[in-house]
Symmetry: C2
Subunit: 310 residues, 2 copies
């Protein structure tokens, strides 16, 4: 198999595996919507599968997307670090996951792994991050321990670097808040990356570790929290906080904006949006704010790897 | 009074008048939140009043904002047509209104009037547009008749020009849909505007007409529709369609994005957001889509001034 075939086989099977495991956890079913596009005037063509579970018992809305898109001309925006490749033919493959649970005690999660190749060059990208509403600090610790474990085999400083990239990226300047409690995020990882340069094989291994650690850790958090009791008060707070998630995705997320601007499928791109969102002039709950907000402001960048006091 | 004082007095009284009339219609109360800002590092300073009515009987969320902001350096983005003014001191004043009614039979409405001055130059901007969920065609006709009447005293071709500007602006390319059924929209109107150049006094008169026609026509539509019956089906459709409104404001609206990027007050800027929004992979109601969508697609640009068949 070529490298691209190996990636494609892995991503397809990851897509199926995630859908199966989270459908089992939920008790509901993912609807699979395969799509193809192009070739369009911009030379873009490809296919994908959007898998979506809506109105589940555990997951109020969950989207797992696979896409494999080729273009005749790499957009300049995709190649800031490699301007000489703009205009070259390229191929981009990836799996994206966003889970919006019903119970406000279960955090929203996001994971993405992707591979881009153009001419003789290739890059890996991806990561995962967690957005709690009612924070359980043990979950924050478990999440960052998993992130650190995914990175550990590759470089002793990799986790710290990618954790910071994640904190920097998932931030809402207009609110002065992080989107959540972070995780890891990387872009343009290849054998020429300063300090962390890894062979194609090692980068591919890392992609697999990222996906596996996300899956196992998030499932563990879901299982620990989805039966906790909550009332209208917690639900209302969750709906209000989901507004920040919507703001991040629509105002700031590069992938979402690039997808919408390049004529991608709006429903597939926006599978990341929360199912139900409330905007209000003021937070409905100062007490719940007082519990959550430190994690998104003063504790942003805190090293969570040490075990939490339970 | 100087010109700027005249504008300021008019906008302040418009702000109060709109709040009073719509509070009476609703039976609820606007909360007035006065704010000041700066002078910041960017030389921006000013004041405003955000008036907000939430959870009313008729209006689920209504925001009426007044702002009066001065800066030491006009941003290049604000002066595309007058690049020689970038970096000059400026003053911007305006009133913005967004009304999200509870009853899906009542359309959402938006109105804005603004005045910008820099060096010896000044511009007026503004307009109003309507976003129905369950369309009553008589409302569409009344809305465009009001828009045409506001424009008629100033130039025979003004309405047609501003109607088109409105259709072009309030459009979601990623959905291939208009945000609503339009209205009028203008930017950079002054005595040097080709074809429609008007004196400062005439431009100010037009500002007043725009505000008055919006107010009277929207109140008339609200009164005609707010007691119509609806059920879960219509409510669910409204929540789903409000997602498009949120997408437009957060992805596309220049005022919203410029405000958020320039460090404006997020809560005041985002008073335009709907109170409750649902995102779903598919429209929940093909039949209601079949009634609404033609107005946002094939009928976009239709001349609605002729009386509707009722």
């Amino acid at each position: 198999m070529t490298r691209e075939q190996q990636i494609q086989v892995f991503l397809s099977s990851l897509h199926q595996n995630l859908c199966q495991l989270f459908a089992e956890q939920d008790g509901g079913k993912f609807e699979f919507d395969p799509w193809t596009r192009g070739p369009s005037g911009t030379g873009l063509a490809g296919r994908g599968i959007t898998a979506i579970l809506e109105d589940g018992q555990v997951l109020e809305r969950a989207g797992v997307g696979f896409s494999d898109v080729s273009g005749t001309s790499l957009p300049p925006a995709a190649t800031a670090r490699n301007p000489h490749l703009a205009g070259r033919a390229y191929r981009a493959m990836g799996v994206s996951v966003v889970m919006h649970p019903r119970n406000p005690n279960v955090p929203t999660s996001h994971m993405n792994v992707r591979f881009l190749s153009a001419a003789d060059t290739w890059w890996f990208g991806g990561g995962f991050d967690l957005t709690p509403y009612l924070v359980n600090e043990v979950d924050v610790v478990a999440w960052h321990q998993a992130a650190a474990q995914a990175c550990a085999p590759f470089h002793p400083a990799l986790y710290q670097h990618l954790r910071k990239t994640c904190d920097d990226y998932f931030y809402l300047p207009h609110r002065g808040e992080a989107r959540g409690i972070g995780g890891i995020f990387y872009d343009d990882l290849n054998d020429a990356t300063a300090q962390f340069g890894m062979s194609w094989e090692r980068c591919f291994e890392f992609m697999q570790k990222v996906a596996a650690h996300y899956r196992d850790t998030y499932l563990q958090i879901v299982r620990a929290r989805y039966q906790l009791r909550y009332g209208d008060r917690e639900r209302e707070y969750q709906l209000y906080r989901r507004g920040r998630y919507a703001e991040f995705n629509l105002v700031l997320d590069r992938g979402t904006l690039f997808g919408l601007q390049s004529g991608g499928r709006a429903e597939s791109i926006l599978m990341s949006m929360p199912p139900l969102v409330r905007w209000a002039y003021r937070s409905p709950d100062a007490e719940l704010d007082a519990r959550l907000m430190p994690y998104l402001t003063t504790l942003r960048g805190h090293d969570w790897r040490a075990r939490a006091e339970v």
